[in-house]
């Protein structure tokens, strides 16, 4: 019990966060499908309630320890030593909160844009958010995997049913891509399970030492799952399609929380389980991250589709995150975690912004816009703030994360830092080109007469602006959550357990140098 602090609150907070949306979805099934506004309100109420019940995570979290907190632990399938084991530490707590916030925003932003199968849509949103919260708070590998995969089902429907014209291709790609990754992870999980003597307890598993060759293979098995989700460079192509075709809320979920699962996986599993393999693979990981940053950035420069551009920018930003994580130092990892939050807020917000005009014009083509700043000034203002945060302007949250990850990357390897920093230039390039083409210049006749944002949309987006500035100006409040946990993680990874490293790793090293 030394590694955890039981839940001291009067209610099982993590279970509530996971299952309240699920209950909400079940209640929705009982509502007649013709009563759409009731459906929306019920969904919203559940999301908001979940959020309010999740606030103690923020306020009651003990920032002085790396131990798992708010732990809930019950027997589940004793035959296999599977437990219902939840808990959060500094790495995951913010992501859980991000999830609860996102679910509210997703519901708000879809209020008018979803017109068919309304009931199913809100059910799917609630289920997805519940499952993702489960992913972030599971401490049992089996439970984790259940949530990890269960999330796919509603997500599949969200993209496939309410998506754009090419949605079927996108969903199939999404599901197959992620499945390939996660089944390999499943094999890895089972292997670890037996190696560790039949336990799925993550805390126990991460305390063990595995022989190097096992670490090596398992690292790649887990990598397959996480890299696809992140997505890292060569396996990123599902993301643009999925993002582009998904409805706004789907894109928001994807961008804000779903792809964080990958990065979270690296932190929670890959690194502590396989510290030696991780260390050996750092050069490869950093290389892939840097490629992602630059490569996706360059692709962004020439995109003609708004959502596609933001999707590729996500790939680029996630490159920063993985770079930070695999820099294996405080700056990098904390920056990576913070950047996960930031990216969730900012890219989620950008997708919501795109959704705002998509609802009005039903076009995602950049060429169909122009001069919006004149006709929708408030909207332009909102979009600008998020653009700047995406660009990483100091004072916004984007800066803190990007700077820390870059610093981490630079500390780990100078060349990596330098190359990644060029991503910042490219980032400014594509975001400003986008902004210019959409908001500045001659007014496109197609946008004349569009109404500016309404109250609902502002209510949905304003909190995100506050987050942008809050994290930008006073990030310490968020960083404080992470220090002990990240410190603990680094101690784990810094101790060499096995002297020898394979040649592959060494070759990688040589190439990088």
């Amino acid at each position: 019990m030394e590694q955890m602090v039981m839940n001291k609150l009067s209610y099982p907070i993590l279970s509530t966060i996971i299952f309240l949306p699920v209950i909400g979805a079940l209640i929705l099934t009982l509502i007649n499908r013709s009563r759409e506004s009731l459906i929306k309100w019920v969904a919203l109420i559940f999301a908001v309630a979940t959020f309010f019940l999740s606030i103690p995570l923020f306020t009651q979290f003990d920032k002085s320890t790396y131990k798992m907190q708010f732990v809930e632990r019950h027997n589940w399938i004793p035959v296999w030593n599977i437990e219902y084991f939840l808990g959060v530490d500094g790495i995951s707590v913010l992501l859980v909160l991000l999830t609860t916030v996102s679910s509210i925003l997703c519901i708000l932003i879809s209020w008018n844009s979803i017109k068919i199968k309304v009931k199913e849509f809100y059910m799917a949103i609630l289920l997805t958010c519940g499952a993702i919260a489960g992913v972030f708070s599971s401490l049992d590998f089996f439970l984790f995997y259940i949530f990890w995969e269960a999330m796919l089902i509603p997500m599949y429907l969200i993209i496939g049913v309410w998506g754009g014209p090419n949605r079927i291709y996108a969903t199939i790609k999404f599901i197959l891509y992620t499945l390939v990754g996660s089944v390999l992870m499943l094999v890895g999980i089972l292997y670890v399970y037996f190696y560790a003597g039949r336990t799925f307890d993550i805390l126990k598993l991460t305390a063990l030492t595995y022989p190097y060759n096992i670490q090596f293979w398992l690292f790649w098995a887990f990598f397959a799952a996480f890299a696809v989700k992140v997505p890292m460079f060569p396996v990123h192509t599902w993301l643009p399609d999925a993002h582009t075709e998904a409805p706004t809320a789907g894109s928001v979920i994807l961008a804000a929380i779903l792809i964080k699962m990958g990065a979270y996986g690296f932190l929670r599993f890959s690194i502590p389980l396989f510290p030696d393999a991780t260390r050996a693979m750092v050069p490869a990981m950093l290389t892939l991250s840097v490629i992602a940053i630059i490569y996706a950035g360059l692709v962004c420069l020439v995109q003609k589709d708004l959502k596609r551009l933001i999707a590729y920018s996500s790939v680029s930003h996630m490159g920063f995150i993985t770079m930070g994580i695999f820099a294996l130092n405080m700056q990098g990892i904390e920056g990576g975690i913070l950047q996960m939050i930031n990216h969730g807020v900012v890219t989620g917000a950008l997708f919501m912004c795109v959704g705002v005009i998509y609802d009005r014009t039903h076009s995602r083509q950049i060429a169909d816009y122009g001069g919006l700043a004149t006709h929708m000034p408030i909207y332009a203002g909102f979009f600008m703030v998020f653009t700047l945060a995406a660009v990483g302007l100091p004072g916004t949250n984007g800066f803190i994360g990007e700077f820390l990850t870059l610093l981490g990357g630079f500390t780990a390897n100078k060349l990596v830092g330098v190359l990644a920093a060029t991503g910042v230039i490219i980032g400014a390039g594509y975001m400003l080109i986008l902004y210019q083409k959409v908001f500045f210049m001659k007014v496109n006749p197609k946008v004349i007469g569009l109404p500016d944002m309404d109250l609902r949309e502002m209510v949905a987006l304003t909190p995100l602006i506050l987050f942008v500035l809050w994290i930008g100006v006073y990030p310490v409040q968020f960083l404080d959550f992470m220090h002990p946990s990240v410190q603990h993680l680094l101690e784990r990874v810094s101790v060499t357990n096995i002297a020898e490293e394979t040649n592959i790793a060494r070759v990688f090293m040589e190439v990088i140098r």
Binding site: I77, V79, Y145, E149, I153, Y156, G160, L176, V180
Partner: protein, 475 residues
């Protein structure tokens, strides 16, 4: 000379089942309303199931054995029977083959399976197998005015007879080698007399693999399955995609784990390619199907491949995982077939995958159920299909077959493509034709039960897993 009856306690379920079948046969003559027979058969099976509880031991000079293992399989058979009957009632009326013999044949076929599961002697095993098979052939050809149904029966029959000839040849060889047909005696004889490595023994074992491989529709003995499944009445397709397969696994497990325990290496060596090929062919060819029954046939081939992995693991856990898998497969597969059957209405087959286009719009609840079954067949949590696969994989990894599991998971990803294609048609396409459904209470019950079980096992597999393991305690 005195004819003394052996103790009948352990064999009560079989006796009751026989009586049930015979009563049904008789009652058919007097009862016009055949639904009553359906009800009677379900009630009867419940009684039989009740007698199953606590029955254990062996009788008839050790030819019959009732243990946890056989009881577990019998439970699968009963579930299979009940669900099949539930989904049949309306269907066979639509197909105009509403005869009383239908139910008694199902009962007899189930009896055959029960005999197989309890067989401790190869003679009994063979006879049980034939009883099951012959009944199933008839059931497959039950729609006798339908050429497809005839053809299904014919192909199933011909190839079935072919395979049972191989089985017999294998039995004759092992009989010659050991001088006995009792499974336990064979096992002890092989290990005592040092027959391990004898080519004739290997040959005999291989012929067993062939025959059982045929029953479980493992590649390359699967060829009958798609045609028979497609042509047979849908309810029977559901019935025979679960029952005979499970029975096949039951004897496979018993014969190989006990009789051939000492040449474990050899038969795992044979089963591995079978398993891999089954997964490969089943999953890949299913991609190209346009008839949903045929697709489910290929899927059942693939699932046989997964369940085989459990046998390959060749330990208690492995067998337990195989049993667990079959139980879960029974629920999810019959569930899927129940949906297929619902689409069969007067004058409309509803077997094409395109018939599912836009189903979610017209029948949202039905589509949601189909979605659950499809995800379960794919093996995505939190459905039962995942638990089934997981347990199989766990046991295989524990037995050191990590690479086999890797292959299996890759194929399971491929399978996602065609299962989810159904979901995609239902949810993401617009309906092109008006598709009606044949609603009936019993069908609803079947759907409800299967869906609830699929989800319940998916979330709380503890009971089932423990049951499967406990069933093996005396194995």
């Amino acid at each position: 000379m005195n004819l003394q009856l052996p103790p009948l306690g352990p064999i009560m379920p079989e006796i009751f089942m026989t009586s049930l079948a015979l009563i049904l046969l008789m009652a058919d003559l007097f009862i016009k309303k055949k639904e009553v027979l359906a009800g009677a058969s379900i009630l009867g099976v419940l009684v039989v199931a009740y007698t199953l509880i606590g029955s254990s031991g062996s009788t008839f000079g050790g030819m019959f054995i009732s243990d946890g293992y056989s009881s577990f399989f019998k439970a699968i058979f009963f579930i299979n029977l009940i669900l099949s009957v539930l989904i049949s009632i309306k269907y066979i009326r639509i197909e105009r083959v509403n005869f009383g013999e239908y139910y008694s044949l199902i009962a007899l076929s189930t009896l055959g399976m029960m005999i197989m599961a309890s067989a401790a002697d190869l003679i009994v095993l063979y006879l049980g197998l034939e009883l099951m098979a012959l009944s199933t052939y008839i059931l497959a050809g039950f729609i006798r005015y339908d050429i497809k149904s005839n053809e299904a029966a014919l192909k199933y029959f011909l190839l079935g007879a072919f395979s049972s000839a191989f089985l017999l040849y294998g039995i004759s060889l092992i009989y010659g080698l050991t001088g006995t047909t009792s499974i336990k005696a064979i096992a002890s004889f092989i290990s005592e007399k040092g027959l391990v490595g004898n080519p004739a023994l290997s040959l005999s074992m291989t012929l067993f693999v062939v025959a059982f491989g045929f029953k479980i529709a493992a590649v390359p003995f699967h060829m009958w399955a798609p045609d028979a499944y497609e042509g047979a009445p849908t309810s029977i397709t559901a019935f025979m995609s679960v029952g005979p397969k499970a029975a096949g696994f039951a004897v496979l497990g018993r014969v190989f784990m006990i009789a051939f325990a000492s040449i474990k290496f050899e038969w795992t060596f044979l089963l591995i390619p079978l398993s891999i090929l089954s997964m490969a062919i089943g999953n890949i060819v299913a991609l190209a199907q346009s008839n949903i029954k045929r697709m489910l046939a290929y899927s059942s081939i693939a699932h046989a491949g997964y369940a085989l992995i459990g046998v390959i693991a060749a330990n208690t856990d492995g067998v337990a995982s195989m049993m667990n898998y079959l139980m879960i497969y029974a629920f999810m597969n019959i569930g899927a077939f129940a949906v297929v059957i619902m689409l069969r209405t007067e004058g409309f087959k509803g077997e094409n995958i395109t018939d599912y286009e836009g189903l979610a719009k017209t029948h949202p609840f039905l589509s949601a159920l189909m979605l659950i079954f499809m995800f379960s067949l794919t093996g995505i949590p939190p459905t039962a299909g995942f638990i089934g696969k997981l347990y199989v994989f766990m046991s295989a990894i524990n037995a050191g077959y990590t690479w086999l599991v890797l292959v299996a998971v890759v194929f399971s990803v491929i399978s996602a493509y065609f299962y989810l294609r159904i979901v995609m048609y239902m949810y993401m396409r617009e309906p092109k034709i008006e598709v009606g459904t044949s609603k009936s209470g019993t069908l609803g019950v079947a759907l409800g039960v299967t869906a609830v079980m699929v989800l319940a096992i998916g979330v709380y597999p503890k009971c089932l897993v423990e049951l499967a393991r406990a069933a093996l305690s005396g194995f």
